[in-house]
């Protein structure tokens, strides 16, 4: 699988927030978009997800142009910063939602959905919590449910928008490792948006350092340290880890 982002531009009311951004992501690769707020990283993620549309540029997955595809048709799993769990649905209903809304022809049976939900609850180490409601879960548990819900649809790409920012430091550490494990076990390529250097360094195969709507450098973490392309990247890399 290769996901290709080509020459993406996006403006809001005359302000250009993405200035010709290009990058590609390989099979099973874990990529972090790292930058301060206002650097355009969340806009880029939303464009990849299909929740916003670029002014110009293309997105392609294995050569298929998906720029005009709706968010649902892209089949990407998204974990939101707020988790965005459906508050009136149980944990099991949340996780199974993406399967339940599939078109009649391809939709799994009720029993198949239940089995898949159980499997995912095991995977995120919350077996037996399917009947709970989001309000009854801790922050870390909610985050894992959001992850399971995104993975339930067998996404072609996993997108995460600051998934750990609402958690305290201890929970964050342990969840980081489990997110990375899950992602590798499933073998899905992932894009993580973060402003936390340590997080990017700990998780990502490659990091795209973003600033003012551009990618300043896109490389492996150790390369960012050894050969920073600019002073900004050098400072960032020196401070991280």
């Amino acid at each position: 699988m290769t996901f290709d982002i080509r020459n993406i531009r996006k403006s809001f009311e005359g302000t250009e927030v993405l200035k010709d951004v290009s990058m590609e992501i390989g099979t099973g690769e874990f990529v972090a978009l790292l930058g301060p707020s206002g650097s355009g990283k969340t806009t880029l993620l939303n464009i990849v997800a299909g929740l916003q549309h670029p002014d110009s540029g293309t997105l392609s997955l294995d050569g298929e142009d998906i720029t005009r595809l709706s968010a649902g048709a892209r089949h990407f799993g998204m974990v939101f910063q707020s988790y965005a769990l459906f508050r009136h649905m149980s944990v099991a209903e949340n996780i199974g939602f993406g399967l339940k809304v599939m078109p009649r022809g391809s939709r799994p049976s009720r029993r198949q959905i239940a089995a898949r939900v159980e499997e995912l609850l095991e995977m995120i180490e919350l077996p037996g919590l399917g009947e709970r409601y989001p309000a009854q879960l801790s922050g870390g548990q909610r985050q894992r449910v959001a992850m399971a819900r995104a993975l339930a649809i067998n996404p072609r790409l996993l997108l995460m928008d600051e998934p750990f920012s609402a958690l305290d430091a201890q929970v964050r550490q342990s969840l980081r490792a489990s997110v990375r494990d899950l992602q590798q076990k499933i073998g899905v390529a992932a894009i993580l948006v973060t402003h936390d250097r340590a997080e990017a360094w700990a998780l990502a195969d490659r990091i795209a350092v973003m600033g003012e709507g551009r990618i300043l450098q896109y490389d492996r973490p150790e390369r960012l340290r050894e050969a920073p392309a600019s002073e900004a990247v050098r400072v960032l890399a020196a401070d991280a880890s």
Binding site: A71, R87, M89, G98, Y133, A135, A150
Partner: protein, 267 residues
Amino acid sequence: MLRRLLILAALAFTVIVVILPVVSIFHRAFAEGAGAYWTAVSDPETLAAIRLTIVTALIVLPLNTVFGLAAAWAIARFEFPGRRLLLIVIEAPFAVSPVVAGLCFLLIYGAYGPVGAALADYNIQLMFNLTGIVLVSAFITCPFVVREVLPVLQVTGLDEEKAALTLGANGWQMFRHIVLPNVSWGLAYGVILSAARAMGEFGAVSVVSGAIRGQTMTLPLQVELMYNDYNATGAFAAATLLTFLALATLALRGLLHHFGPKRDQAA
């Protein structure tokens, strides 16, 4: 001392302004005994008024529910030209006197109004019948659902809807499974308020109804008619029916308040 005085004042005010009048309705209605009350309530004209009132509410409520939901969603979720204006216009029925509203409808949709005259050529009459009563009732009650649903939508935010879209839900599924359950309590509240108002409205309806006995008299109009006919027992008996509707509304509101939101708001 001051506290007691305040409580006393509040109680006295409530008794004088709310409780006494309500009690007196029942007192007067039953003054000539239960038999007379029953005869008055089962009077064919009163029964026709009850039927018309309920039919009107049953037509107006679905209309305003659909319109209110659509308008609230559009205002909460989209930026479009005229959005602010729509928000103000929707509230207009609260600001305009109902009698004036009724006259406006008469001016436009009546036989001498631009729309009414054009339709008259096709033998379609909008005023002085059920259509006219439904139209003004819809106008009078149009803000309630929007006003209850809009704040709920604004508080819940967009993320759940976006999440549903990324999971493959189409627009209708997103609305049915995410938006509707999230606003359901506010919606129920708005519908109850609309129902109470639609059934109790006097001013606007009296202008467009034409007051045809047994045909275009709603319950509030029937109360006034009988009172003017020196049929006090009949008027007060019909008034008790409206009072029951009001009490039922209050009870439903209380129930919604008691069992409604909060429980799962933390998510």
